[in-house]
């Protein structure tokens, strides 16, 4: 029995280095089942409830696929229309009800802290699938899996995060996790969208060195992993300023001329213009593979939490 059995997964920071390593190794074993070349009934008779108080097609479908691939069943809703939530039911009551129908609950909610609240009202394990601008730990796990699977290790890798580092929750969680796992970090953003100070302090406290830059050209040649995020239009009151700033962080063939041969480019998707379509054809592009890694990683979590036979 693993430490994971029956456990909530609410925030990446609650997972230790060895927890993360266990998930990644388990995910690797899940790949043949995830792609359908092997069959599994490890979670037969188990029920996953997917409670999506706001839609997130990719996250929901990959959880549902993960459960189905392991022989389990799924029930739930996406969007609150027609549910008791619309009648004004509290989240606490919804959770108490769903507890009776399922073995594990995956929750997506527009408000920060919703998953923690949910976990307080049920004995069943709760997996946070995104709570407002808060945590989305399974996204971080699949990002970590992608780096580990492509590069074989974290230590010695120069992971360069680029884009909106101030508001992007994905890059915050990823930074916390990589600080545990010992990667070298480089942060590239416009001056107004820099990584929050407390996160940089945390990296320093973990004894790691990092680098910050405002121009991608300055650091691209040292990067082993380039993690690109979207710079959102609403962060800039002046549309022209947005166009010019977003444009200066665009990843295209020209900027990749200086890159290492083995550089991998990641993106949580959906992307807009921050990665040029021409990059898709290069060996650097792993963002679609990253998205497909969602299934084995979520299978691994479900299997570890529910104590499947695999």
């Amino acid at each position: 029995m693993s430490d994971f059995q029956g456990r909530d997964v609410l925030s990446i920071r609650e997972l230790t280095k060895s927890d993360i390593q266990l998930v990644l190794k388990t995910a690797k074993k899940m790949v043949p089942i995830a792609v359908g070349t092997r069959r599994s009934r490890a979670l037969e008779g188990r029920i996953l409830a997917t409670l999506f108080f706001e839609p997130s097609t990719r996250t929901r479908l990959s959880f549902e696929s993960a459960m189905a691939r392991l022989g389990g069943r799924v029930l739930g809703f996406s969007g609150t229309e027609g549910t008791s939530v619309q009648k004004g039911e509290t989240l606490a009551d919804t959770i108490r009800m769903v507890e009776a129908y399922s073995d594990v609950i995956v929750l997506r909610h527009p408000q920060e802290g919703a998953a923690r609240l949910a976990a307080e009202f049920t004995e069943k394990p709760v997996i946070n699938a995104g709570d407002g601008a808060g945590q989305h730990p399974t996204q971080t796990l699949l990002d970590l899996y992608t780096i580990w699977d492509e590069k074989g290790a974290f230590q010695g890798q120069n992971v360069t995060l680029v884009g909106d580092l101030k508001y992007g929750r994905t890059v915050h969680s990823l930074t916390y996790a990589l600080a545990e796992l010992g990667a070298h970090l480089t942060f590239v953003s416009p001056p107004t969208l820099e990584m929050p100070r407390e996160i940089l302090e945390h990296v320093k406290e973990r004894g790691l060195t990092f680098r910050t830059a405002h121009r991608l050209e300055e650091v691209i040649r040292d990067a082993d992993v380039l993690y690109v995020t979207r710079i959102q239009r609403e962060r800039f009151p002046d549309p022209q300023e947005y166009e010019s700033i977003a444009g200066s962080y665009r990843v295209d063939e020209a900027i990749l001329r200086d890159a290492k041969r083995g550089l991998i480019i990641m993106h949580p998707l959906p992307r807009l213009t921050e990665i040029a379509p021409e990059v898709d054809r290069t060996k650097h592009a792993v963002y679609f593979k990253q998205a497909s890694n969602a299934v084995p990683v979520r299978m691994a979590l479900l299997d570890l939490i529910l104590g499947g036979a695999e």
């Binding site: 925030s11 509290t90 989240l91 606490a92 909610h109 527009p110 408000q111 920060e112 802290g113 919703a114 923690r116 609240l117 307080e120 709570d131 407002g132 601008a133 808060g134 945590q135 407390e198």
Partner: protein
């Protein structure tokens, strides 16, 4: 002159060395409002050798428990608490900051689940005592301007 302002009480609790201007917040934290049945004396802006200026709160006929008192530490870590019995100081205590503040502070994040109609109390974890830094248990955000967010 000073004796006139700060008269002794027979039984109850005297909270001394409150940073000047925070006496009313202390009452708020202690839940002392309209429903109180004894005399409450608030003395504000009293000269203090140690602090320059301070506030003092006296609650007659009520001995505050240490859990109640410790809540005060969130805004007034310098406060001292004297339990008075028959005009004498029966106990003298310093406040100690608890590790958690439950139901005392409101999260400043409007999108935090603790700010909507759910059957929970707000809860903050004390991340650092000096300087005081507290973090919401639910949304994980640090609360700035702690005094302004007392429930």
């Amino acid at each position: 002159m000073r004796e006139l302002r700060v008269t002794p009480i027979k039984n109850g609790t005297v909270i001394d060395h409150i940073p000047a201007g925070l006496a009313l917040k202390v009452l708020k934290i202690l839940g002392i409002g309209d429903s109180v049945t004894s005399t409450v004396t608030v003395t504000m802006h009293v000269p203090s050798r140690a602090m320059g200026w301070k506030d003092i709160v006296k609650v007659e006929d009520r001995e505050l428990g240490s859990r109640e008192i410790d809540k005060i530490a969130l805004i007034a870590p310098t406060a001292t608490v004297n339990v008075i019995r028959n005009y004498n100081v029966a106990e003298k205590r310093r406040v100690t900051l608890p590790d958690r503040a439950v139901g005392i502070l409101r999260c400043a994040n409007p999108n935090c689940i603790s700010n909507v109609r759910e059957p929970i109390e707000s809860e903050f974890m004390v991340r650092s005592k000096n300087p005081l830094r507290v973090v919401c248990k639910y949304c994980d955000r640090e609360l700035e301007e702690i005094v302004a967010h007392i429930v």
